[in-house]
Each structure stands twice: as C-alpha cells, then as structure tokens.
C-alpha cells in the first residue's frame, strides 16, 4: 500500500507543478501584452477624445467625447506634409542605395577566392569600433559640400558593416560554390552571376535588409539635426520633435479664448501625429516577418 502511494504521489505532484507553471507562464505573458499594448492603445483613444477629458483622467478604455479634430488639424500644418514627403523620399532612395552598396560589397566579401580578403575585411570591420567622431565627420561633410543637401541623408552613411556581415554569412551558406564554378565554365562573369543568379536566390536577406534600412531612415533624426538647416529638407522626425518634444506649438500661443481653442488642438495634434507617423512603418513588418527565419538570424549570431 505504502509503496504504491509513494509511486503515485511524485507523478501527481509533478503534474500539479506543471499546471501551476503553465498558469504562471500564461499570466506573465498576458501582463507583458498589457504593458506593451496599453500605452499604444491609450494614444489611439486619446487621439479621438476631447483633450479636457484626457486631462481629467476620464479616458481609460474608450474615447470620451469622440472627435476627428486631431486628424483634421493635421491638414493645417503644411510642415508635417513636407516632412512626410521628404521622409518618404529619403526612405525610398536611402533604402535603394543601402541595398545596392551593401549587398554588392557583402557578395564580394563572401567569396573566399577574393585576393586580399583579410585586409579588406579588416578595412570594413575596423569602422565598427573606431570612428572620427562628430566634429571631424561634420567638417568632412562640409568639405564635400554635402551640408544641407538631399544627398547627405541618403549617401555618405549608407555603408552598414553589421548588415554586410549578416549578408556575407547568408551568401556563404546559401550560394553553393559549385554554382559559381558551373557558371564560370559557361563563360559567365562575376557581375552577371551576381545580378542573375545570386540576387534572385537571396530574396530573404534582401527583404530583411530592406526592412532594416527603411526603418532606420524612417525613424532617424540625428543626421537631419546635424546636417540639415533648410526647413524644406527636414524629415518628418524633426517636425515631430518640434511638436512632441520641444512643444513649439504650445509656446507660440498667446492667451484668451482663441488661444484656448488653439491649445486644445495642439494637444490633440500630439496624439494624432504620433499615429500618422508611426503606423506606416509598423505595417511594414508583417510583410517581412516570414523572412526573419532562423537562418538569417543565426547567420547574424555566428559571425
């Protein structure tokens, strides 16, 4: 009798234990989801709510005093749309340049028969750990007459060594050496091989890098802050900075009833502008998600 219960007990205890762990695990995951989603959700409902209701703490789960005013107000600020246009241009052109420059370099470095591969790799990797710093870089950009130009946002800093390493690993594992040997016998040169064989086989890495470059360009403000003065060249992020961080809208207001209305709109604008600026780039991820397979990421780890 006793021995029998002794045998049953540990197994039963183990099952209970497993159930408890499972419950704890799912509770944890739900808490994480709430912590991540609620601030974002709050911005969405606040953008549709009466600002005074938001200020009084009445907005928790649903919009209060539903209004489109925040979104209508977006159309009264031409700088937002100029910024939008510029950001789209920088993102499209910058991503194209980034892909062209980095993929071709990565392919060349992935070839083990490249003479001088060691010093060349060092030439690239060294820049990950050492750089001239802000002022010397700034002076260089000025020397090249790139200060306050469209080009400064898309060209000088388009080499991404980390991405080159990831893509190089992808090419090394994904493009068999025999393929190149066979192509060579058929009289195919390196450039044709790269364009007609390597690139079509590398859709996964191309979409991952494209996502990285696009998100980087869409979200960056540092280069614009340093190298752009002309407001007509400013990207969306710098316009956002004026609205969200330095509160230039509110500071410009006076007092009185007109100012009250303007303040109300300025408050609403802060929510709607966040939505409009963030939604497009967030929607990009699901399209690329399937390519974030273990192959690409493991490649990143191994190198």
């Amino acid at each position: 009798m006793e021995t029998a219960t002794n045998h049953v007990l540990p197994i039963k205890r183990k099952r209970d234990n497993d159930k408890l762990l499972e419950t704890l695990l799912y509770t944890w995951s739900v808490i994480v989801l709430i912590l991540v989603l609620y601030p974002l959700y709050f911005i969405v409902i606040a953008s549709f709510s009466d600002p005074s209701a938001v200020g009084n703490g009445k907005v928790w789960l649903w919009p209060q005093g539903f209004t489109w005013d925040g979104y209508k107000e977006l159309f009264n600020h031409s700088n937002i749309w100029i910024g939008y246009r510029n950001t789209i241009a920088y993102t499209v052109v910058g991503t194209a340049i980034g892909l062209a420059v980095n993929l071709s370099a990565a392919y060349a470095l992935s070839r083990k028969d490249l003479v001088g591969i060691k010093p060349l790799s060092f030439f690239f990797i060294f820049t990950m750990f050492f750089n001239g710093g802000l002022v010397p870089t700034f002076l260089t950009i000025r020397d090249f007459n790139l200060y306050d130009t469209f080009l400064v946002m898309v060209l000088p800093f388009s080499v991404a060594v980390f991405d080159i390493i990831v893509a190089r690993t992808f090419f090394r594992t994904g493009i068999p050496a025999e393929l190149w040997e066979a192509a060579q016998i058929d009289g195919c040169g390196n450039l044709r091989f790269f364009a007609l064989m390597v690139l079509p086989l590398s859709k996964a890495i191309i979409s991952v890098l494209a996502l990285w470059f696009a998100v980087g360009h869409w979200n960056s403000y540092f280069n614009a802050l340093i190298y752009l003065q002309n407001k007509d060249l400013h990207p969306l992020q710098l316009v956002l900075r004026d609205i969200l961080v330095t509160n230039q809208m509110q500071n410009a207001l006076g007092t009185g009833e007109a100012a009250q209305i303007a303040l109300r709109l300025a408050n609403l604008l802060r929510y709607s502008v966040i939505i409009v600026a963030t939604l497009p780039i967030m929607c990009l991820y699901p399209f690329v998600q399937k390519h974030f397979n273990k192959g690409v990421m493991i490649g990143a780890v191994k190198s």
Binding site: V32, D113, F124, G132
Partner: protein, 309 residues
C-alpha cells in the same frame, strides 16, 4: 632566382585579381564611401591635438598637444558627464539578461498561434522612433494631465515630476529601452533556441527531466555562444550612451543627471563651435571604448572558445 620566383608569384596574383575584377568593382562603392566619410574623419581626429581654425584648415592649424584633453579633465563638467555616462551605461548593461529570460519564457509557450501573436506584438515598439518614444513618455509621465498624473490622482496623491528629476533620469532612460526593445532583442536568442534539436528534449523527457531541468541543462548551454558574442559587443559600447534619446529627454530640470558625453560633445562642438575641444572629448570616449572592447575580447578568448577575432 628569388626575384624570378617572386615575380612569378606576383604574376599569379595579378592573374587571380584580373580574373575577379568584377568583385572589386562590386566592392568599389562601399570602399569609396568608407574612405571618404569614415576614414577621412579619422584623420581629422588630429584636430583634437590642434587649435583648429576653419579658416586655416586642418593642416595649417597650430599644434597644441594635450591642451584640450587637460581642459576637459579639469572642467567641472568632466565628472558630471563621466558619472552620468557610466551610471546609465552600467544600468542598461544590467538589463542584458532580460531579453534572454524573455526568450526562454517565450520558448516555453506551447500554443503556437498565441506565441506568434505574442511575439509580433512585443516586437512592435521596436519600430517606434526615438522621438515618438520621447514624446510618448512626456505625454504618459506628465504630472499634470498624463496617464501617470491621472493614476496618482485616482489614489488621491500628487504625482511627482518624473521627467524633471535628475535622479530618475537614468531609470526613465533604461526602462523605456526595456519596454521598447526587449521583444526585438530576444529574436536572436529565440533563433538560437529554435535550432536546438527536438531529440535533445525528447531524450530529457524520457530521462524524467523537469521543465526547469530542460531549461537549465539544454536551453541555457545552447544560448551561451550567442550570449558571449553579444556581451562582448555590448561592452565595446559600454561608455557610449546614445545621443538620440538622452538629448531628447534632457531639460533644464534634469540636466545634472542627463548630460552624457555624447550630448556634451554635440553642444560643445556644433552648438558652440569649439571644434578641437569637442573632438578631444569624443576621442577620449572612443579610446576608452576601444580599450574595453579589446580587454573583454581577450578575457573571452582566455576563458571560452568564443571571441570576436
């Protein structure tokens, strides 16, 4: 004799280079860009040892030795910026295990559909720009009409001005990063975990291993190489608190806790045009990071098979 063989050697080399000329053409754009915009500024670093005058140019400006380094060491900003930079760096560094734990827990989620949705949602904040994050925090943490102010008032208390507090700055900086990037940073560990062969788990189950034991004896050892590599890279950037967020979250009230080397370099260099002084501070920072990276890489080499080079 020797001459002839080395000549033949060289000829063979040239032949191989010539045969692969297309590859060098592919490298050309990236190499040119790096030479112009990364290596040329490295040469420009010498202005840290000169009294740089834009009118004179880098070559003609007079040498001043370590004058600007001494100026930095003696300025009262020196200890403040170093202290803040080190504090925030170490604080962020202490968060290093969070994505690892996160990945291990996510890996335990059994329901595949739920797991995928969970991952997609926790990656989302990564795509938000630094500026929006800063704006978001100002909105949510404002004591007046922010979410936190409302929460405090719900309990009848007065909300503290978190954004204007020098001592809370590092916490705001670090925890907003945790909120934004934990999901995304865990991808790399999840990828490493997904490469674990299922037969290992099956064998462990047959041997009667508990969940904890599987995590402890299978998952964590499988993650070690990834952890070491990322750890080394992190240490290399230890003294580099990013400019973008620190600068955005700064205000007059919290400046004594929020001035870090990178923001100071920007203000001195570009806002007040003290080029040489700014370059000196920047160089000092870069050298320390570089030294740390080499040190840690050596340690990693000695105690494990994982190192960067």
């Amino acid at each position: 004799m020797i001459n002839r063989s080395s000549k033949a050697h060289l000829q063979r080399y040239m032949l191989r280079i010539g045969k692969n000329w297309g590859l060098y053409l592919l490298l050309l754009p990236a190499v040119t860009l790096l030479l112009c915009f990364t290596y040329k500024p490295m040469y420009g670093v010498i202005i840290a040892f000169k009294d740089f005058k834009p009118a004179l140019g880098i070559m003609e400006s007079p040498w001043v030795g370590l004058k600007y380094f001494e100026k930095f060491f003696q300025s009262y900003q020196f200890w403040i910026t170093i202290k803040n930079t080190v504090l925030i760096s170490l604080y962020s560094f202490a968060m290093f295990p969070i994505p690892i734990i996160f990945a291990i827990l996510v890996n335990q989620l059994r329901a595949n559909r739920y797991k995928r949705v969970f991952q997609t949602i926790t990656y989302m904040p990564h795509f938000i720009s630094t500026i929006v994050i800063a704006g978001l925090m100002m909105i949510l943490l404002s004591p007046g009409n922010g979410l936190m102010g409302n929460l405090f008032r719900l309990f009848g208390a007065e909300a503290p001005n978190v954004m204007g507090s020098a001592s809370l700055f590092s916490s705001i900086y670090v925890w907003s990063d945790v909120w934004q990037h934990t999901g995304w940073d865990s991808i790399i560990y999840l990828a490493a975990l997904s490469a674990v062969s299922p037969s290992l788990y099956e064998a462990a189950t047959v041997d009667g291993a508990t969940r904890w034991q599987k995590i402890w004896y299978i998952d964590i050892p499988m993650l070690i190489p990834t952890i070491v590599t990322l750890l080394i890279l992190r240490v290399g950037g230890l003294l580099g608190v990013g400019f973008e967020k620190a600068y955005l979250l700064q205000n007059n009230l919290n400046i004594s806790g929020s001035e870090v080397i990178s923001t100071y370099v920007y203000k001195i260099g570009l806002l007040s045009s003290q080029y040489s002084f700014s370059a000196a501070i920047n160089l000092f920072n870069t050298l320390i990071n570089f030294a740390l990276l080499i040190l840690v890489n050596q340690i990693a080499k000695k105690y494990s098979e994982n190192s960067l080079w």
